[in-house]
Symmetry: C2
Subunit: 552 residues, 2 copies
């Protein structure tokens, strides 16, 4: 089933939710349309046709080299030549300087079309941000233009076998050579696109610990480590193996070994011990982009399910054979899929829009973006999984057959709640940092905005419940806060998404489908989230009544 980019939904979201027209120095309506249509053609024409081979053949490892499935290299060339990697990068580095919310629309489509492939540009985006914000002039001069152009894809090397969510536990070492360069030694795991044949050069951003650095996250520095040295010789870095995963088979998930011999040569990005700041620059970008993966998969799964439900005839209505889309419970699933997809898209684009405003010096928007990031990452990816699973269900028995394609969406979607900070880490961030940001005003302002704008009693009731839970959590001990963090994150996300889709449905240009999906969202998904209040406020004592061993 071919993918059709949701251009009109994207335009509506950019207009009504992001307010792209009011963004200082932002694109005009013509430019927005041109980008949306170009991104649609790229996703539909180049990325989507490779989704199936990406899954069935996948990336292959042989003796340190990784081969992408047939067609990927040519599609990557099209992507680079089309200038798509340059979209949101700054003009001084060869970028087009478009807002991140426009880049969001691009990635939304690429994720929908071929998630395993879309990870390649996604990683580069985070690296571009990190180097642009923290890198030296030399690094920017020598590396940024080609990363921005897409000729040199980039990677993020954080995780090690004993340092996953606890990145401060990493052991990779960096030793100063004396000429400004460093020798890196260590093993990194779960490195997305750590090795591939889309390009000769690959630029690795690697977290490591310098000699004498303090323990934990304060002792971490970020290094740029190219696969090929400036003279074209090989650096001391090798892809040891790739993982056999549930999904995103096109994306090579690499074990990377740095410094098997004398040490891989790298250069500091930012100051020594400044690794965490640089990492968060990458991570915040990546977290929103991972949230978009949920949106993209949800879009694709919804399109596929609707198409099947319209084509598959089964059972009668008014004594006539009908497509299953006419049966109420199937229609309920389709509406839920569409409503969740629309809500997640609204939340994600809105968050990118706040990042854009923050980049233009709007301090309130910067705080709002911080509050939204854990919601957007966690709920966006939860929506991706739920919608993909519903998509299988709509297909009945055919959904379980791999050739149908519905199952791939669930397999692909299932990684997103895990990487770039598990959704549990996002929930901890929400209650641990974001709830108290700016003395609590950043979070409270969000609730106030919902209350000020919505005209729906059900949304107001949810805003009230979120406020009650927020008050309880703020007064609670840290464990109690963490115990309720996940249900609290979900109910807050639904509140924000409900508020934004309702705004969309009221806006000029809203079509009947937007109104129908919004009505469904507010009537069923919003009240459902009210049920999470008890769990959000339940406290931690419930969790520690017995030792964990007793639960085995």
């Amino acid at each position: 089933m071919s993918f059709i980019a949701p251009v009109s939904d994207q335009r509506l979201t950019l207009n009504a939710v992001v307010g792209i027209g009011e963004l200082e120095g932002g694109p005009d309506a013509e430019m927005v349309d041109a980008v949306l249509e170009g991104a649609a053609a790229l996703a539909e024409g180049e990325f989507a046709p490779l989704a199936s081979i990406g899954d069935t053949v996948g990336a292959r490892w042989d003796n340190g080299r990784v081969t992408m499935p047939a067609g990927f290299k040519a599609a990557w060339q099209s992507f680079v030549e089309g200038g798509w990697m340059t979209l949101a990068a700054h003009e001084e580095h060869g970028g087009q300087g478009l807002p991140h919310s426009m880049s969001a629309a691009l990635m939304d489509n690429l994720n929908a079309a071929n998630l395993g492939f879309a990870l390649c540009p996604m990683l580069s985006m985070g690296a571009i941000e990190a180097i642009a914000q923290h890198g030296s002039d030399e690094l920017k001069r020598d590396y940024l233009p080609k990363i921005v152009s897409g000729e040199w894809p980039a990677t993020m090397n954080l995780t090690e076998p004993a340092a996953g969510s606890d990145v401060g536990a990493l052991k990779t070492k960096a030793e100063a050579v004396g000429d400004g360069s460093w020798r890196i030694k260590g093993t990194k795991i779960f490195i997305t696109y750590g090795e591939h044949d889309l390009s000769d050069q690959i630029i690795h951003l690697v977290l490591a610990r310098t000699a004498g650095a303090p323990e934990g996250t304060r002792g971490i520095s970020l290094f740029l480590v190219p696969k090929l040295m400036p003279d074209g010789s090989a650096n001391d870095v090798r892809c040891v193996s790739i993982e056999h995963k549930l999904g995103i088979h096109a994306s090579p998930t690499c074990v990377m070994s740095y410094g098997d011999h004398e040490g891989a040569i790298g250069w500091l990005v930012g100051p020594e011990l400044g690794g965490m700041a640089a990492m968060f620059t990458m991570m915040n970008n990546a977290r929103l982009n991972v949230g978009l993966q949920g949106v993209g998969i949800a879009e694709r799964a919804t399109q596929r399910a609707v198409a099947y439900a319209l084509e598959r005839k089964q059972g009668l209505r008014n004594r006539l054979p009908v497509p299953i889309a006419e049966h109420p419970d199937v229609r309920r699933m389709l509406l839920r899929m569409r409503a969740l997809t629309m809500g997640a898209r609204a939340l994600l684009y809105y968050a990118f829009g706040q990042v854009d405003r923050a980049a233009r010096g709007d301090g309130a928007a910067a705080l709002r973006a911080e509050v939204l990031t854990p919601l957007a990452k966690a709920w966006g990816t939860d929506v991706g999984c739920e919608v993909a699973s519903l998509g299988i269900q709509v297909h009945g028995g055919m959904g379980y057959i791999e050739e149908t394609g519905a199952a791939q969406h669930l397999r692909d979607a299932r990684i997103a709640p895990i990487y770039e900070g598990t959704n549990g880490i996002q929930a901890a961030d929400l209650v641990g940092r974001k709830l108290g940001l700016d003395g609590g005003l950043a979070f409270d302002g969000l609730i106030a905005d919902v209350r000020d704008e919505t005209r729906d009693a059900r949304l107001v009731a949810l805003a009230d419940a979120v406020e009650v839970a927020a008050t309880t959590l703020r007064e609670s001990a840290p464990d109690d806060r963490l115990a309720g963090s996940y249900p609290f994150l979900t109910m807050t996300s639904v509140m924000v998404a409900g508020w934004l889709v309702e705004r969309m449905a009221r806006s000029e240009g809203a079509d009947a489908r937007t109104k129908a999906a919004t009505d469904f969202f507010v009537a069923t998904i919003v009240p459902e989230a009210l049920g999470l209040g008890a769990a959000a406020e339940a406290g931690a004592a419930l969790l520690y009544e017995v030792p964990a061993e007793a639960l085995a």
Copy 2:
């Protein structure tokens, strides 16, 4: 990670929820223990070690023959020789005549150990019931003993390409030969264990339409069609292909062709046009057994997640490195997994217990079993998927790597909400037939029993909400009932499961883990279900605001 059968949970559930000790002619405590321990040893020692090869190698088709992975045939021999297939079959057919609730404990373990393998005996169980209740004396004499012994596994052939949920649309034809036998011609799809090399003989139960039969379900008859004729020659039946599925790779899902030549020979099970009654005998058994698949997978996924969370160290608590099981949100996931597993097990065993009482002439129990069947099938399998997905999440990045084993549970679990009547069909059955059964008294009696027994205000609140929704749905038009059927099914199921686990937690022999999981269930999962009331009562208009095409 090796599987440990949850013997003490099973014993507690059989005692406190099923009341196995009060069951007329039921096993004494010693017998219960002997069966539970024997079933545990079988599942742990014979089935579980083959789960991984079952997934990675799977069943292989070649030119009409299906080869099972190495070890399956020997394990099946052990199963047969241990007399496990005979457990719940009637003594007159070579069975042990034990209650179905004891068989539930066996299948719970086999599903947990190796779902793809456990499907083989599951299908035979339904066939045994159908032949015992509807078959002629000759069929019972000639076929039942060897199906009951396990020497001749049996299958259910319902689905055809254009007849899935709408079984009445099937086209397979049966023509009377004149000597009491029939010639069957047609193609059946999604036939579990339709062909394999565990045995020479396979007994197919096939729904077909006789000449001149009316359209729809009233025109259907059930036939017994052996793979090998009584003289040992091959019948005219062939496995054309097997499916490439998301999970349960060990289970061959066959396209079966009957009558490529002169027609496959078969004999009526029950009267001509009596196929639906016989089918429901098979289906009701199978529906509860599929619900148990959710329980088994949930058990296995929970055990694996707890083991990993105890072993994996990451992050600090009180400045010391701790296993991730100590972190509140991970502990929340583990408790949710255990609580849902326990709740689903209680609901399923309880339903089997009502079937046992119905078989002893208890009319109220028969009605109760009818009400419980859609809840047990749908919610049991939804729990299987949710818990398997949480299990992946607990593992973090390792959960996405196939070798870890956590991902297989989600892949395996995902079929259960689909087959034996999709969960949407179960929800339709609940609001369409079960809500009005016995003038509504059967359903209302369930609510009344919850209210009479529980001492918890949260459970009472849920019972109130279920009653309000039930009243609304009864007064609604059919489409409105169907529109709310799924959320109504979920909230009703949570009410029943919450009631039963609370009973368990209060019972003699309840351990601290049962109490902790029950406290969590009642404090978080029960209030969450309250949030579904609005969706249950929302009506169908919301679903038809736009044509389905608009949702693509």
